[in-house]
Structures are given as structure tokens and as C-alpha cells.
Symmetry: C2
Subunit: 229 residues, 2 copies
């Protein structure tokens, strides 16, 4: 008999769906940084009472993409240049660690999954679906975290990913032009398949630095605009 492992059943609470909806709205930039979330308005739009909506917002606050001030409101986090720098510098450290943990565990299933995700990025790129392009690229990079078999590291990465996705989406939205060249991930994938751990780790750093410069430029623009208020 074939061994079937069923995934967990879908979360059927309103709360979970609201979380997903809000997260998506924030990470795609539909909700802008600093914007206030009016509970009554949103709950009416979603045809839901405020209770599950508020619980959902509490989760997103802890997730780090919303911020809440008692009796004042809940807002989408502001994005500063420093936040982006901080997130990226931590990301480098974590990437190195994740690759190191994953390295001895690589097997055929890993390589297959790597190819699958790489393919997804290329497809999104061809379709010029920028949102999906960001999503798939992050999923490609997330593989080493999933493979590292360290639950706390994975959790940390997922939190970080939320922000990175938000940053990229904002950046992309501001420039309104397609994201980086097509072949960027080629070397990354190749190195992960190779035999040189150090090289892979080193490239992870460099590769990150490519888009980093662009993001920073965008962030500095934000800074300037904010200081005018």
C-alpha cells in the first residue's frame, strides 16, 4: 500500500481567512505603509464582525507587518531605509546558516524541488506577473530554510520573508517596471547543486547585494518624503 501523507485540513475559521486576506493586501502593497486600518469599515467590507477581524490584526501585529497603538488604531508598518538594511544584513547571516545546515542533507528530492521552484520563477517572469515573481523568488530562497530542519530558523525566516516581500513589492510598485533580469537565480541554483559549500554561501551574500542597492534607493526616497511631513 502506498504511503499517503495527508496535509493538514484547511483552516475553517473566519479569522484565518481574514489573516490571509490582510496579509496578502499588505505584502502586495495594496495597503500602503503607515495606512490606518479602520475596523468598522473593513469588517463591513468583509461581511464579518469585528471580533475575528481584531484577532486577525493581533496576529499580524505580532508577525511584524502591522503596528498597534491603544485607542488610536492599527497601522501598516512604516518602511525606513534602516529597516531594509537591518532585514538584509540579518538575512545574509541566516542564509549562510541555512545553507550550512542544508548542505549535508541535500538529496535528489532537494534538487528536484529546487528545479521546480526555479521553474516557477522563470514562468512568472515570462508571464510578467511581478507580484508572483517576487513570491516565487522568495520561495526559491526559502527552500534551504525548509530543508535545514531547524524549526526556529524556519520561523524566523518566514517572519523576515514577510517584510522582504513587502519591501520588494513597494519597490517594484514605485518603479513600475519589471523586476531584475531573468538569469539571476541560475548561479544560485547551480552552486546549491555543486560541491563547494563556501562558494554557495558566498554567492548567497553577493546575490542578495544586487537587488539590495535598488531597494535602498527606494527606501531613501521614502525617507525624504517622510521628512517633509
Amino acid at each position: 500500500m502506498a504511503k499517503l501523507d495527508f496535509g493538514p485540513i484547511a483552516d475553517t475559521t473566519r479569522r484565518a481567512e481574514i489573516v490571509a486576506l490582510l496579509r496578502r493586501a499588505i505584502l502586495t502593497g495594496q495597503l500602503e505603509p503607515g495606512q490606518k486600518l479602520n475596523e468598522l469599515r473593513i469588517s463591513e467590507q468583509m461581511r464579518v464582525s469585528r471580533a475575528p477581524l481584531r484577532e486577525a490584526m493581533r496576529e499580524l501585529v505580532q508577525e511584524g507587518i502591522l503596528t498597534s497603538i491603544p485607542y488610536a488604531g492599527t497601522f501598516v508598518i512604516d518602511v525606513t531605509a534602516k529597516d531594509i538594511i537591518d532585514a538584509y544584513s540579518l538575512n545574509k547571516v541566516l542564509d549562510e546558516f541555512a545553507i550550512e545546515l542544508t548542505w549535508p542533507q541535500r538529496d535528489q528530492r532537494f534538487f528536484d524541488e529546487l528545479d521546480r521552484r526555479h521553474e516557477a520563477v522563470k514562468q512568472a517572469t515570462r508571464a510578467v506577473d511581478t507580484t508572483r515573481q517576487i513570491e516565487t523568488a522568495l520561495q526559491l530562497h526559502g527552500l534551504v530554510y525548509e530543508w535545514a530542519d531547524n524549526s526556529v530558523l524556519l520561523e524566523t525566516w518566514q517572519r523576515l520573508t514577510s517584510r522582504l516581500q513587502m519591501y520588494f513589492a513597494l519597490h517594484q510598485r514605485a518603479l513600475n517596471e519589471p523586476v531584475p533580469a531573468e538569469g539571476v537565480h541560475e548561479t544560485y541554483v547551480a552552486l546549491l547543486k555543486g560541491a563547494d559549500l563556501r562558494a554557495a554561501q558566498h554567492h548567497a551574500r553577493e546575490h542578495i547585494d544586487v537587488d539590495f542597492e535598488e531597494l535602498l534607493a527606494y527606501a531613501r526616497g521614502l525617507e525624504k518624503r517622510a521628512s517633509k511631513n
Copy 2:
């Protein structure tokens, strides 16, 4: 006129107080791993309605010390040996990074604060207040994170700290004996004051490994007990 900077006003919502109460109960081990939190019972004990309690629980779920299953309940996280290993190995990496970031920023205020926190640990040790001993020791180690001036790193550390504190509390509670020797932190503090970055980073690793072995032994005990059910 002296420049006074007022800190933010105290959170006056019931939710915030509930979060603090519950967190403390969990981190000190008053609420045991795996234990279910009955909303009605707790809300009655606290003389609060279920709404703010549920919101508080949502926060602690995202914080990683509670886990929730729809329509089944919310439970204190289970502690497995692997969780402890994972948390510690990530902690090592983060410690190295935090020390590196802090290094060039050390000044007199840093050293003073270092001494102050070190003193707090020693005082708790003398008073044989084991809970406070754990708390102060973690605060001592947290200084480099606060000084590193990287908000995402600090956030990550704080999440990790919750778990570490819980693990130590459980370990201490199980053994029912005073925690490690008195002079453990002496070298750590001295190295942070010194001029050798590499030595400080290296010691942070070794130092951590000391208590690590003890914790692991406790965790393995947990594993055995769990497998009997």
C-alpha cells in the same frame, strides 16, 4: 533646561495586562507544556471577558509560546529535545552576529550597563531567586542585541529569549536545585570589555554549551515521558 525624554505611557488595555500575566505564567513554568488554556475559566479568574483574553492568546500564539488548534483549544507549546537544540544552534549564530555589530559601538555607557546587569545576576544568585536568576542572565546576554542597533535582530532575539527562558525554567523546576555556578558570566563580561572580537565570539559559543548539556538531558527526559503516552 534639562532635556527630559519621557518614555511611552504604560499600556492601559486589559489585553496588554493579560498578555503580561499569561507570558509570565508560561515562562516561569506555572503553566506546563502541553497544558490547555480554558478560556472561560481563565476569563473568570481574571474577571475579564473572553474578547481581550482571546486577543491576548492570539499574540502569544504568534510569539511562539502558545499553539492553537481551531475548535479544539489553545495550548502551551510542547518542548522537545529538538526544539531546544534548534533554539540553541540559532542562538549561537545570532550571538556571534550581535557581538560583531555591537563591537565597534561599545562605549562607557555600554560598559556601565554591562556591569549593572552583571551585578543584577549576582544579586539574584545570592538571593537564591532562581526565576529572577534566569531572567537577569538573559538580560545580561540581551545587551549586545540591544546595542547592535538592528531592530529585526533584536526582535528575533526577544522571540528566542521567551523560549530559552521557558526551557531554563522547566529545567530548573525539574531538577529543583540552584542554577549553574556563580562565576560563569565573569569571563563573558571581561571579554566584551576586551579588545579581541574573535575571542569574545568564540567564548559566547562555548559558554552557551555549558548549560546546554544540562538542558538537553532534561529534554531527553521529556521525550521519554512523552513516548509512553
